[in-house]
Symmetry: C2
Subunit: 257 residues, 2 copies
């Protein structure tokens, strides 16, 4: 690979064969050398999970000029750790997760394997971005997102990101994108999260599902508002989760040990 081109490390949580990561590869190949290390199958909802009980393996599935693709038996975060440990020739200029099939705005950041990738990149000290489209279908149409992804990647390569921060970028499912809004995480909640089914040989089991309830639908600075109004939602995100105001408050608590 040519040293002067940027090197981007890509992963996702929908698996190496998902349309979203294939579209991401096509979009970014003209701009950079790419190393892709992605799970060998779907890992939706992996969050920051790591594999501790089982070993991890990988294999190369594609090698072309400026593009190397590996699949890995582990979680999205495992993929990034494996890449840094053994698969990348130098520290990448960016770590990118996506394009996810489904919304990772609001509280979904806490369940998202795509954002697991991004937070792991950030923990490694590399500027990192997650891209997600609010459409779960395997054959979702990502075409409207491509010019925005190129612009956001290009600008982030130029500006960098402060240490300990990363970007969570979500696209509404429309061909008619109104532009970019820099947002904060929306306060929302999942309800009706499980559906019960009878097993043919007796007993019940549950599928995780649910409906998202926006607790602040009028908040114009929130990422979900941007998506509801056909904007690209860029939510700057940080790995320091300390609640500083509560920290000061709790210093006054007297514990009765």
């Amino acid at each position: 690979m040519l040293e002067e081109r940027p090197l981007l490390l890509l992963s996702n949580d929908d698996g190496v064969d998902a349309k979203g990561i294939r579209e991401l590869i096509s979009a970014l190949r003209p701009m950079a050398d790419l190393i892709v290390v992605a799970p060998d199958g779907p890992r939706s909802g992996s969050a920051g999970a790591i594999t501790s009980e089982r070993p991890i393996r990988y294999s190369k599935v594609q090698e072309e000029d400026g593009l190397l693709v590996f699949k890995c038996t582990g979680t999205p975060v495992d993929c990034i750790k494996l890449a840094f440990h053994t698969l990348i020739p130098r520290t990448p200029d960016l770590v990118i997760g996506g394009i996810n099939h489904g919304d990772n705005s609001s509280v979904n950041v806490h369940y998202s394997g795509t954002m697991g990738v991004v937070i792991e990149g950030c923990l490694k000290g590399v500027p990192s971005i997650g891209f997600s489209l609010c459409n779960h279908s395997a054959d979702a149409d990502f075409s409207a997102t491509i010019p925005y992804i190129r612009a956001i990647v290009s600008k982030t390569l130029e500006e960098g990101l402060p240490v300990g921060t990363c970007l969570n970028v979500n696209f509404p499912d429309t061909a008619d994108l109104k532009g970019i809004r820099i947002c904060r995480q929306t306060d929302g909640r999942w309800i009706n999260e499980l559906v019960e089914r009878d097993h043919p040989r007796g007993g019940v089991y549950f599928w995780l599902t649910g409906e998202y309830k926006n607790l602040e639908p009028e908040a114009e600075d929130s990422d979900h508002w941007a998506l509801d109004h056909n904007y690209v939602a860029v939510t700057p995100t940080q790995i320091d989760v300390t609640a500083y105001a509560l920290m000061e408050q709790m210093k006054k608590w007297k514990f009765d040990v």
Copy 2:
């Protein structure tokens, strides 16, 4: 169960049979009615992962006065979602994760299944606390932690926690605890995270492991400093991960779409 006693929902990521959750149950039974919904085996490093590709099942493993214990095939977060959906008679007064066998301070919060439990409780609007001991052994000695756990639970029941915040409590592995410090999340990094092994039938595989590197060992307000100096580290934690300073900065970026 008597209505006037607090109701606590407990889970963990080491599994329902782990010593840590058994010690937590013993410690809290005199104070409250307990419902335990924990994974049926080890789920270390589950973070906020949810199970989307497979169904979830549960079964009751213990029923005594003021204590109900269920095991569940899912992740720690699945356990909490299942409990809220179908296993608890009313909203619990607290959700508690632990006692974890191992350190969840610093950046470990992003991988921790124990903190997955806690963040899920917090997302459900319930004050939530994670307890972890810096000792991975299956037969770790939790006895020094018990009076502190009771004091922290009791005080949190009395004071409550602001919406969107929770507590990450870590204990150093010592019988000689120096008291409680209210801390912030330490900036640290994992290095040498994978170990390679040869497979007897050819090829290699990897185990996730690693060494934690503290990037600010002198920071007296950080949770890792507290642990290094034999204090109980209480790190107030929040679910809003927006990087507000970067948000303001990025509003000036011009994207070339």
